[in-house]
Symmetry: D2
Subunit: 341 residues, 4 copies
């Protein structure tokens, strides 16, 4: 195991340079090479990171024995092929979210990782976000009682994608966070949406996920909203949590209030108001924490928090969401065959 | 037509006294009598309104020829019987929302009003709310372009009802406002929910309504949320509106921003930021405006904004929402038989 | 001591009816009579409170042996004369804030109370406000360390007075709250202001108060501001508190942050961020709590929290503030002669 | 006049690298050299900007004929000496704010610029901030009527300085913005403050400035506050403006409300509520706009918006503020001798 992980990055579009920057800032790693089909993008990389080698031929990275790991930051349709090649070349692999566009591809990537005996990590950055982790710790310490439902607003007037709809663009965040928090697999998925700006690309989707425990998750995903909202509300049987990622301070608030019990004449007193507590949240960039986790998992052979299975579960939910969207919002099973693993 | 409308109120529970107060403040009307089965409630009415006659027998109000109109502020299951009696006695009738618990009952009340030739008005107070009316005026003046979707958050840790679920409790507000704004009848309804506190009463419901124009309305209705939210966002093809009823000022904001057009290389510039304008909203209480509208409609024989048909449409949506809830969130037609009127 | 305190109220202008209502709701008291020079105002009182006797001759209240206490809710210039008469007639006396327009008058009222052996309470309602009391309890429990400074914003586009300036109109709130919290007498006062709308009535005043402990209080008082602000920030050596009376929830927030210690190379780390805690605040109306306190103090012969001395201290600060205003904002001593009591 | 302005930067502490970055991004300029006494800082500059020459001897920059202009980003005590040297060497000079610590030094720098016939610009970045400029344009178009007063809150739990107090640290922003907006010279200054953390360095200062027009400016400057506030409220005789630099959107709001006129019986109606308008503000970084302005002024021989005279006026106000602080908050003349220029 090398002391410094030498990393190659494939894809220098919008997100790739952020990985290069964070790898260069993280102790224990060095971004040594970047591959992209666009010479302009590579030129821009060289300007900012003079020490990084660039190439339009990504196979150079696989062939270079001095490269220990690769980050695949390319369109989702290429993930399977690139990841399989990388594992065959004996590299550890970080794949940007979503892991794949189809369950079958995600499963193939997992098999390739197992065959190679190398680390596979998926870029669900939010599960490394200090506020998301703080909520997870509260939930694990039974801080809110039984989780009843999670409501999420992830909307703004934003970047419209041409190749994927808002479910695949914004949905991975809510799904990965929700599965991380709840620690259980979904039972059913329901999604309704509409295409207002482009004729075949949903720009608004309402996603709902049912869980065996009875918990419900709902997300409003939209590229068509006047203000940026990034709010997730967790309602528990004893307390409630609001996680608002747009806030600079008080990103997480715990409301010590709930419904005590209902009795006939005291309807209006049936709920309990209480204190509100906002724990301090570290301001470290989530992507930096994610890169450090990847480096650490490779170094120690640990399973990443967002491993291949976590990535596969997100793909399954999104795929089920697409089936629901295409059938007018019908409720569909998380396991299409009704078979549990 | 009497100069002063003499009104009897049936039902002195939570909402009834508010009607009595507003009738006593409105020019052109006098609350002359209140009926309720509870002597304690009547005692409380007498204390606050010494000039108002009280009785435990509501038929006294129907028999009194000096009473011109009655307000029915009783549990929804009694609306049809009381309204039919009132119309038979020749009274004008104001019925609290929802008009009825079943389409058939709502239709019967409308028929009774037509047979009596008297005014029927339903207490959808929000369509008299100055902020809601201001939004309607902006929409009618083509202020936002084509309405694409309306998203509503109507949640708080609130009063749990024993006899009706959150769809019937909070849903009438969103449905009546949405139908008023859009001026078209729905095509389909979808509702998903859950019962967390009481075993058979949904305390959380996500309601979706599809319209022939392609517009979509979505409402998050909940008795289980840490903060009170009363926000409706209207996304139009040119501008957007946020109506936030919780705000003391800036209840309505018009965002001069939207998506211009999409072109390949300019994805991140595809939307247009703009000014934000917040029109002054009068602070008059909506219930006072509603009572004055009732008085005015009776005096001039005008059709109320929230007439029987408007009340019936709301009942149809809620009834369809219940069918959807009971069938696991399936999309159901607004007209069950698929027949348009 | 009567079981029920029979109270007469002198003055039925803007504030008087609120006292009558709260007295009628408070256990242990009955508002039995109201005096005012205006028959219209008395008519309005009779409508709302049929059981209350009204008169244009306030001496009737003094002469009535069945009246135990009077509330003086009249222009400040009349307080001394009315209070002295009331004490001579053997009544307990509640005087609206400010106690008087001059120190000499305030002192005379205190002497009259002492001579009569009756209770004197001043209507500094805010020191009965549950949020203000919650802050006091935190300070008394050494919750923030040594108080360094208190900054207050008490502004809005509001009711302009003709007879008093904004210092006398809004200042009593900040001064009474600050003295209650700090529990020490001021050392010096400084006030700067301006008259923009009326030529001789300051509509904007910046008030500063220095204390022997080194604590500083600053208040921005204005009738000319676009939004209503009611915020007081207490900076302590260990923690900080924000009390925002405009908020419906989270009126009080305790910030567990401060400056640890300064060392050369770690300037940017010199302060400590921490959790934020918002204690639940009861929603009881402050005026109701104030009335109950008055009733309780009379019944048990207790000294009110806002007794004559407390009222006198506020008058002293305001009087000193006027001297400062009139001398171009010069710093003036709290005790004009430089003599401490 | 060279096509590309070649700029040397003296001082690579906290702010200097920001200038280097913005100069490298601005069209028409190149940062060619950086001088600093610290080799570590220069090493950091070389890493980020490999093309920039570095030196510990700032006179190299003056001696280099290929350098057209220098930016002086050093402690304020060195500004005069460095600026005089730079002008003698025939360079255009940008001096970070405040221009100097004493009026005499600021005047000497102005004389040196005039003698050399070169451009002198002071780094009052905020007068290039798009929101501040937007407010200026509204004021110039008579958008609020006569300006009555400006209240500013510039506070947070922040970086404590060792050599200057909060008046010199944060005050230059408020003073430069206020003078830019009002376009008149002050008449008097008053400042009160306190030293809570360090014994001789004020960490809280309340600054007041009186103007010949009757306008008043007030600023609360503090390193000891729980939340970051950057709010300036402009009250005009017709409308009001709030500029809140902490907001991501709606940085500027214009309130169409004011006091109409006062008449006896209509006190509570004396003010006029109205619409609120929030103009779109460009998101360009103020420092980039400032650098472009410097480049443009040098190229065209134009007088900068923040020229030496503007910088001198700010120094005069701060110096007067110090005299007031040291005399217990007494009001002091802007022109110490009472002589107007």
């Amino acid at each position: 195991m090398p002391e410094i992980l030498r990393v190659g990055v494939i894809g220098a579009g919008y997100w790739g340079p952020n990985l290069v920057r964070n790898l260069s800032e993280a102790p224990g790693a060095d971004p040594v090479a970047v591959a992209d089909l666009s010479p302009e993008r590579l030129e821009s990389i060289r300007k900012r990171f003079p020490a990084v080698r660039t190439t339009t031929d990504h196979t150079e990275l696989f062939d270079d024995p001095k490269i220990d790991a690769v980050c695949i930051v390319t369109p989702v349709g290429t993930h399977r092929r690139l990841a399989e090649e990388a594992f065959r070349a004996g590299k550890h692999v970080f794949v940007e979210k979503p892991l794949a566009g189809k369950t079958a591809d995600a499963e193939a990537i997992i098999r390739a990782a197992e065959a190679a005996g190398k680390t596979l990590m998926v870029g669900h950055t939010f599960v490394y976000n200090p506020a998301v982790v703080a909520v997870k710790e509260i939930l694990d310490a039974d801080g809110v009682g039984r989780v009843q439902y999670i409501d999420s607003q992830r909307v703004n007037l934003g970047l419209h994608q041409f190749d994927i709809n808002v479910l695949w663009d914004l949905g991975p965040h809510d799904v990965s966070i929700t599965l991380y928090w709840l620690g259980e697999e979904p039972e059913w998925i329901q999604a309704t949406g509409a295409c207002f700006v482009q004729s075949d690309i949903e720009d608004v989707v309402f996603l709902m996920i049912g869980f065996p425990s009875g918990a419900l998750a709902h997300a409003h995903l939209s590229w068509l909203a006047p203000s940026k909202l990034r709010t997730m509300t967790v309602t528990g049987s004893k307390k409630m949590i609001v996680y608002d990622d747009v806030q600079a301070v008080e990103k997480v608030k715990v409301y010590d209030q709930g419904v005590d019990k209902l009795s006939g004449e005291e309807l209006r007193r049936s709920y309990r108001a209480g204190d509100i507590h906002s724990p301090r949240i570290a301001v470290t960039e989530a992507l930096q924490l994610e890169m450090r986790h990847f480096i650490d998992c490779v170094a120690k052979g640990k399973r990443p928090r967002s491993d291949g299975e976590a990535g596969l579960r997100v793909v399954r939910v999104l795929e089920a969401g697409m089936r629901s969207l295409r059938s007018g919002g019908a409720r569909v099973a998380y396991h299409p065959e009704g078979v549990r693993a």
